[in-house]
């Protein structure tokens, strides 16, 4: 799984965990939300997408994640996907440990426990999500994403509504886990600092319908 350097290698790299997105049209009813959105992300690369709220960032992520299949265009990428949602989106009726094991049936008890340890929840395995603080729930959601050794990681505003200390802690943790697992990562955020810190490439989603623009942007 070497990094991709030339365009010509794109097709071969696809099998190696690259994600290729070519959306031409996405509508909700009569309203066109997304126009031409084309990009690729290589394994180990982190691409950030910035944009004002309501522009269609979450819609784009849902399409890339395979949750929304009602669009024109194509998304090709690895099968092992993980997503960190805006809300932790945990199973509130299952313990922290079970939240990892149920979603990843192949995960052994020791591995699940180790993963909890990595996000600083080593002693909270038996707790229900409702017993954890929001910061802890976010870390559990992060642990769930990385426990499957994802080839494609999608993050939808993962640090929103955290206080600055907790947010910084989450950022550092995410940085560490990405460096360790090296998935192709797509990060959506509205905070420029987060994007600059985590991403190797920053794009802007803007307009109506929204299209993807390269570079520094506004």
């Amino acid at each position: 799984m070497g990094p991709v350097t030339t365009l010509g290698a794109a097709r071969a790299a696809l099998a190696g965990g690259m994600i290729e997105v070519g959306i031409t049209d996405k509508r909700f009813g009569a309203v066109q939300v997304l126009g031409q959105v084309t990009f690729t992300v290589a394994p180990g690369e982190v691409m950030a997408i910035l944009g004002p709220s309501g522009v269609g960032k979450s819609t784009l992520l849902r399409i890339v994640a395979g949750v929304d299949e009602d669009f024109t265009g194509h998304v090709r990428g690895p099968a092992r996907r993980a997503m960190v949602f805006q809300d932790p989106t945990l199973l509130p009726w299952r313990s922290a440990l079970d939240n990892l094991r149920i979603v990843h049936p192949g995960l052994g008890d020791a591995e699940a426990q180790e993963m909890l340890g990595k996000v600083g929840l080593g002693d909270r395995g038996a707790a229900f999500p409702g017993q954890l603080s929001l910061g802890q729930q976010r870390r559990l959601s992060l642990a769930r994403a990385f426990a499957g050794q994802p080839e494609l990681l999608i993050m939808d505003e993962p640090f929103v509504s955290l206080d600055s200390a907790t947010g910084e802690e989450m950022l550092a943790l995410t940085e560490r886990l990405i460096a360790e697992t090296r998935p192709a990562t797509l990060l959506v955020t509205h905070a420029r600092a987060e994007a600059e810190r985590l991403a190797s490439r920053i794009m802007h989603l803007a307009g109506q319908p929204a299209v993807l623009r390269d570079g520094v942007g506004p």
Partner: protein, 252 residues
């Protein structure tokens, strides 16, 4: 008085008041043929218990209640789930649901007996058909309220169908299933009694039919109250503990 002691004492006290009202009414009536006092039922109750009749007929009724309950709940849950998930199917099936919901229980029972015959199958089917629309309607609401976020999560992580049903869908439906089960048991046992009254030769309904023809109010009350006691035991011993177990994550 502590909270738990109070929560136990109040229902008992409230039942005692009901018993008191009955006793006063019986004393005012002064006709044990029409309304026997609570203590006048002890003799007939003991007689029926010793002869084995009471337990046999209670058992038969309980068996029919259990069969109809399992049938109505499984079909009703499945129906409600698919109707809540698919708008198309809902549009097609909703009118049927309304028809069956408004079909009087008595009509369904009579038709089942006429078409299938005076058999156990007809009896249980009639009761189930009466209950299925209610269960389906409650569960349809539950299925509509399923969290789209958790659904997305399950899809992204490619959770297998079985795991999705068991760990994502059913826990969200649990309060609806418990509600349907609650009202289901109460409704089903009443309809089972009618079914037995009309066309079975065993069960509490059959006994009530017989003692009704003999104008024996006492025995009617003995059978009715005994079955109420059984159903209370089911509610407190089975349904409520189960509900507490599936809800324990909320209290934690």
């Amino acid at each position: 008085m502590s909270e738990t002691a109070q929560s136990r004492a109040v229902p008992a006290l409230s039942l005692a008041v009901l018993l008191g009202v009955w006793a006063v009414a019986a004393l005012l009536t002064r006709d044990p043929q029409l309304l026997p006092a609570p203590w006048q039922l002890a003799g007939p109750f003991w007689g029926e218990l010793r002869s084995g009749d009471l337990l046999y007929h209670l058992g038969m009724t309980l068996w029919r209640v259990a069969c109809a309950f399992v049938l109505a709940m499984s079909i009703g849950v499945a129906l409600g789930l698919v109707m809540g998930r698919s708008e198309r199917l809902d549009r097609w099936l909703d009118p049927w649901l309304v028809v069956f919901l408004n079909l009087p229980a008595l009509v369904l029972i009579v038709l089942c007996y006429l078409w299938i015959g005076l058999t156990e199958v007809a009896a249980i089917l009639a009761v189930s058909l009466n209950k299925i629309p209610n269960v389906a309607i409650v569960l349809r609401e539950g299925a509509r309220a399923l969290s789209p976020d958790l659904d997305a999560m399950a899809r992204v992580y490619a959770m297998p169908r079985g795991a999705r049903l068991r760990h994502v869908v059913l826990p969200q439906l649990a309060p609806f299933i418990a509600g349907a089960a609650r009202s289901g048991v109460a409704l089903i046992w009443k309809i089972v009694l009618v079914v037995e009254f009309l066309g079975r030769s065993s069960g509490v309904g059959f006994q009530i039919h017989m003692h009704f023809q003999l104008f024996d109010v006492g025995m009617v009350l003995v059978y009715a109250l005994s079955f109420i006691a059984v159903m209370l035991a089911v509610e407190w011993g089975l349904l409520q503990p189960w509900e507490r177990r599936v809800r324990r994550w909320r209290a934690a």
